[in-house]
Symmetry: C2
Subunit: 310 residues, 2 copies
């Protein structure tokens, strides 16, 4: 049983109540906590030693990654982060100064994005370090962007460049909060997700929730320098395009807008964020399934994203 | 370095923002999220295999305990729980049916208290099961009870009975949500905390936050049947009174009210909750330090609560 199958079984019959607007299945849970015109966003995410980082990561990077992943999920709903709690599960031989440096990484990123660290706890996890971050954020009701709003004909966009994140970016990415908030303010965004499981995997999540298909343009996909360098190494396991489709942990924004908005969006984006690439990589289709168009024609794409239990 | 020293170092300089009313150091973080007249409560808590439960616990009990601990913290602020997220960190050899039974335990308790399970995630933690629960709740601003409001002369109360929780109660306790909400509605409660680290330990937390001392009456402390039975066993490690003071995981409410409210409270409580004991166990003092009065006089009490790293 893979992660998605297990989660599907677990989420089949979760208890709800009237506060839940969107439960399991989007980047964040969306709650109505009684604030007029606003929703509360609620998210939890964990990183585990040996799974999400190795002993090569500095403690500051570990803290940065743990908090940054949650911030990226708040961004994917076009939200503003408010406060986070940190659960630090520490191995038997933990060094206090190392834990303090993890917090230095958390705190620096938190300060940059205006999110408070409002507490948490420490527990023992004898064999390895695990950090679990919980976060609440806010979003205006009419600006909240979910995964389920993509429509046939929409243009599909991605920020930044994809692939090869493991060579460094996964430890020092900047969550796209300002970009997502600007998008929600300035363009009718139909659906959005952050790229954490890989472009193909996250696009499939968006397609499933929106009940649509998608067609990617192979030549348009922005492949990162890291993925290109790795792809040209003699021991390369993956061609660069495949890395961009499936590596994961890019923490970029993947979203759709009506096709008539596409050109205006690209113009406005260039003025607003001249240093961050925005690329139209394909379109949403009424017919289900994920397809890739390259020089030789249109192919059904079987690549899936990262499976946490594979 | 013990847990409290590490936490003191980590919490010295956490980033804040205007949404934080109460950060690290109380049962829950208290946030102002813009809902008029209300605060948001925010809590995270983890249980770890071999630390908070053993292989003797059923999966339903593990789920119950994980969620119940957070609910008890919401109760300690007199709040109402809204929604929880579950991070299930699963060992390499996890059995899906076991995880589903954990969720059955979570869901049953959640339903009883009207809290939604709004999502979460699964990650790998190869050697052992770890469950991290995040919860948000709500409380009217003028009914939110913190740890820092105890005043010299206050009467000190505890619900239920204390000690010996490890023999069973820690896996099937009922969080005192209804009781705490009733208290906040009906009595001016000055300070409250849930008893998780042991009566002495949690009373010290309350004393430190309120900058007061306390005097406990040895004969008044409600000792559980489990603590008494263990205390009379030939191999007894702890006298029953010491067990009640220090065992922890009782998940009862410890709170203070002005002494003039004490008698009326006991009367009203008996009518409202005839099956749950409420006991006045001592008083708050202006002079610092924790003292125990028994037949032989007044003694300084050195017993501390459970230290997660001891």
């Amino acid at each position: 049983m893979n992660e998605l199958e297990l989660i599907a079984r677990l989420t089949r019959s979760l208890p709800g109540n009237p506060s839940v607007v969107t439960g399991a299945g989007d980047d964040c849970a969306v709650l109505d906590c009684g604030r007029p015109g606003h929703y509360l966003l609620f998210k939890t995410d964990a990183v585990v030693e040996g799974v999400h980082f190795t002993s090569l990561a500095t403690p500051e990077q570990i803290g940065h990654k743990a908090l940054g992943r949650c911030l990226s999920d708040i961004a994917a709903m076009a939200g503003r982060p408010l406060a986070a709690l940190i659960t630090a599960a520490l191995p038997a031989d933990f060094v206090p100064a190392f834990v303090e440096r993890i917090y230095a990484g958390i705190n620096a990123l938190a300060q940059r994005h205006g999110v408070a660290i409002a507490g948490g706890e420490t527990v023992r996890n004898p064999e390895r370090l695990l950090l679990c971050v919980s976060m609440v954020g806010e979003v205006a009701r009419n600006k909240c962007v979910r995964r389920d709003g993509a429509k046939a004909g929409d243009a599909l966009f991605v920020t930044g460049e994809l692939g090869g994140s493991l060579s460094g970016k996964h430890l020092d990415f900047e969550p796209r909060l300002a970009e997502a908030q600007w998008l929600a303010e300035n363009v009718p965004v139909h659906a959005m997700i952050d790229v954490s499981d890989g472009l193909a995997g996250d696009l499939r999540h968006l397609m499933r929730m929106s009940q649509v298909g998608a067609e990617l343009l192979a030549q348009a996909i922005p492949i990162s320098r890291a993925a290109r360098l790795q792809g040209h190494a003699p021991s390369a396991a993956k061609p660069p395009l495949l890395a961009a489709l499936s590596d994961g942990e890019d923490f970029e924004l993947l979203f759709t807008v009506a096709s008539r908005e596409a050109v205006g969006l690209l113009d406005a984006w260039r003025k607003q964020f001249p240093k961050l690439r925005l690329t139209c990589i394909g379109r949403i289709t009424a017919e289900g399934g994920l397809k890739l168009r390259d020089k030789t024609g249109l192919h059904s794409l079987e690549t899936h994203g990262y499976d946490h239990f594979a």
